[in-house]
Symmetry: D4
């Protein structure tokens, strides 16, 4: 109930970003993308799809994404990590790929997502970099949205505060020959 | 006792797939292959053999596998991981190699198994991918077995359920701007 | 002269995409991005900037990009490859990073571009993947541009022709037991 | 003309193995698989399909392969190399993946093909290992075909001759202290 | 209070070495550099700066370092690890880079720091090698400081004691056929 | 006391193999070499030496090893791992190098030990492979020692027992379709 | 003759930087360090020394370097690349290591030089990065030398010209939709 | 004819070292081992054997090596590189493995040879390091042979001459500020 009080228009919202993962075991990583989008007040959906287990659903999703109002897709995958590339092959919407660390420190997923053949790009972020995927989606949507553009700029400004706080903490580190 | 009730023909069964490992420390990984074969009701045997410690037993096993009725061999090994390749050198039966993560994240085993010289292929699956080795063995046996073919198709269908369940779980994830 | 006949509005064009590289030695790779943008009729500019040699120019460029009408930035770099990340730190516009193969097969550049810290994403494409960077820029601009959206869809359709042609060539490969 | 004299039944042949590649640039590697199949007198077809450029054709091919009489599929791909895995997701026939060396010495393709998620195995051979892919396909088909089984055994015997010839060549290497 | 008794001149000290890190999470690694400098009685400062979050502060710091009396800068960073290189681009003071293990075992940071383009060196130490960074800073300052030179020589002599102690411990290891 | 009862000639023993390590933190790995030598009743010594901290001691040790009766040297080292190569440069005795896993999964140590320049070989074993280093030392000493030769052959025979035991354990693994 | 006209004080010069390499095959790489030092008018010497072939000469060189007036040492090495670390172990002067690409794309040398144990730093530059080694040596010497400090600042300014020239070249690249 | 004049006892010589390779394509690398052994006047034989193509011959060779007078075996192999390990499994004679660069820069062969399981060591040298394999064989044989010991010491002395010659060449490199 309280949920709807917080955002009463939720029923009418249409998702602009779609977060896709292959299994709920990827949720702890991918949720960081959700959190960022939520902070930017960008309506989004989360779905589980698998390039290998439900190829038809992937196809259906990808081919209808644009007309469903989706403007950017965030897809996370580990190991052979085909999901982002397979979706990118079936849509003209920008696809952001998140390599998930499931084996080989995530190196296999990074290569499987980034090394796409000419014609089908996937915008790859760092290993387990779902937060950055969310920010990148916001930046893409902001291309045609002045308000969101402002929010992104503000967000980037906010990053500085973390450093200010870090410096405060570092000032408590004491050594005889430390001068600050 | 109850065991034989479940599968009364066990005594007369002849193994069609042979699972080989170099040490019982590989069992937690390799047992996933056993479980898959069991689910497909494919008779199999499990043995410990070492390319380096018992080369004569490996030779004896490999050379007699075909006339013993074996149709596919699954061999797991870590580190220098010679076992699958050494077996493949001595039989015409397809050998499936499972690189086991024992050092270097399993990268050494993956290369030692996959990078076989021309003439002696090993069908390599992913690192610790014994479940997939079992499925691949079933797919190979299914080439000449319509019933098994059906079972494999059914199994692949079953993979979709995991995604359905994942989506159900994801529907419980709540954010103000999450639309589904 | 003939140039202006082809595109008489060139003088009034304002670049929407900015292609940045650190040295003209990167031009053979980065020109593929230029070609794609040109094919999509997206006005673009090409500049040489170096995160290390001209940091002030990089800063000036990045901070003014948005008000200069730039909607996406494509930055190529090899080795330590800081350029895309340094630009991304100073703008809210999406930055696409192209790892250039200059040493270690391009692995150093891929990691230096993709592994950005939380807060500052770079949309990384594959090693030497400047063509894909161009396409990705087009996809991003197309989010708010129906005509460009159409062009992207058409472009993706066109990729199929390459396969059709490949199949024609493969039909000329002759073996006794080749059936097609 | 002479072609049909060599194999007059060619017109009635139905392919049992399907060789798939994403581009004709992969032909010099993949042709080694064709040559092996031809030597084994196994009817085969060669087609160009792309997981990313022609996903519908891949789907159509994979889903109909079994009823078209295909018993094993050999798919070669470089870089992100999704083709073998995408095909494997849509068929119960064994899929043999050939990582093609197009970037990063083929390491990206090896990982993208081998590191498949549980449920969808790809039988991976070594980098550029198309000859071994052809032999593996023959070994798989031989599971239910005594004649082919014999041919595989004979082929493996034949490998020894190369060593015999190598020894003859080595006997011509002369050093004062070489004893043989 | 007791602090000032230990080093009463602290108030007048001007830092000669500046330790920079991007976040307090790097402190456990970077503190080893602080400890070494303190042991060498070299005045130093510690600050948090981020190449990506506070580029202006990085610029201000780097450009004023020399006139502020800084003679060497130690900068630690993980992942894409641009901080040392970005600082090095804006100062003529030697910059020592410490690759911090945050992902991929620190390999990404090592490459991002070491593989700098011609013109802008970063003196790279090993992964998490902050202690060595402190020693290297001392060696650099010692070039024009005989007393510090002596202290460095003494420090290197002191390293031998660890081996002497190790040998004492090893003498307690007992085996029948151990002779010492 | 009881120690000397077990091996009363200990006092007169002269070490034939020397085990060297850079720090007692390597002892848990290197002790496996000691145990093997002890089992083979080969007199050995264990010392801590560092290529970097005590180069003079390393030199003194290496140059006198032969006349002190040492016939093989086992040197373990991690990270840059110069110790085995530095010793090998100063003696004609075979040096066996053990790469110790201290960072990067031991890959740095493996390369630093194995990739020696022409003229100065180090007999490298696997990462943390001190047991194998001990066996290799025994094999080298056995070249001129028939009794030790016999012991090595016996030892290799003993390796088979581990497999026999493994098979016994595997026989307790129960599945409906397991045939053995 | 003309040589002495250019620098008549050459006879009285004492080297301040020492460039060391293990073989003349490294000269094409290492000469870039020489050229930089020459441009900075820093007297230097070049010698061939090998950690493995002439350990005594390395020791003699390293131990006397300081009293011979050397203030920084640049050592290049490939493969196991022990030379920089072995020198660093025997002097308190800063040692700059240049990993030379001789095998494995220079990765082995990079790790063997950078991953030094605590206590003995080597200031590592990029693979084949001898030019940067020369600049770093100049930066180190400039710590106590205002004139050299000025020269380094001037050198860094000069790097910008390369970018200005690159931009001029890029202005000649013509596309219909290129705006600059 | 002249051959026998050089070494008239050739007919009666029995090989003490056996060089094994899998194919004559490895001869250019492996011949460096032959040359070293010849220079040391150690009788040797060269044979082609394949762990995968002629496993029976490998077994026969390995099991009879000792009684045939072989005291050390040098085995070169590329890719999956099982040959050295498979031989080592069947003999108590020290086996020296030479990883041959045939793919992945030789990294696959290095790992497949070095990462042997406990019990079966292979003395691994660097990638393509056949010369070092020959020297190591000489060092092993020298354990019980004073004359050979002397020859090895002399050989190591000879390595210094290369450095002397390098220094002579470096003295011809001219720069204004070069002091030597």
């Amino acid at each position: 109930l309280s949920f709807y009080l917080l955002n009463p228009r939720k029923n009418q919202m249409k998702a602009k970003v779609s977060i896709i993962m292959g299994s709920t075991s990827d949720l702890p990583v991918m949720e960081k993308a959700a959190k960022v989008l939520n902070d930017f007040k960008i309506p989004f959906e989360i779905n589980a799809l698998s390039a290998h287990r439900t190829p038809e659903q992937v196809e259906k999703f990808a081919k209808n994404a644009k007309e469903n109002g989706i403007q950017a897709i965030i897809a996370g995958a580990g190991m052979a990590a085909h999901l982002p590339g397979v979706i990118a092959a079936m849509t003209s919407i920008p696809v952001i790929g998140v390599p998930i660390k499931a084996s080989l420190d995530g190196m296999d997923a990074l290569l499987s997502i980034a090394q796409m053949p000419p014609g089908i790009p996937v915008a790859t972020v760092g290993i387990n970099g779902a937060m950055n995927a969310g920010i990148l989606a916001a930046q893409i949507l902001a291309v045609g949205d002045e308000n969101l553009q402002e929010a992104v700029i503000e967000f980037k400004e906010g990053l500085k505060e973390k450093i200010v706080k870090a410096n405060e903490e570092l000032s408590t580190v004491k050594y005889d020959y430390k001068t600050n």
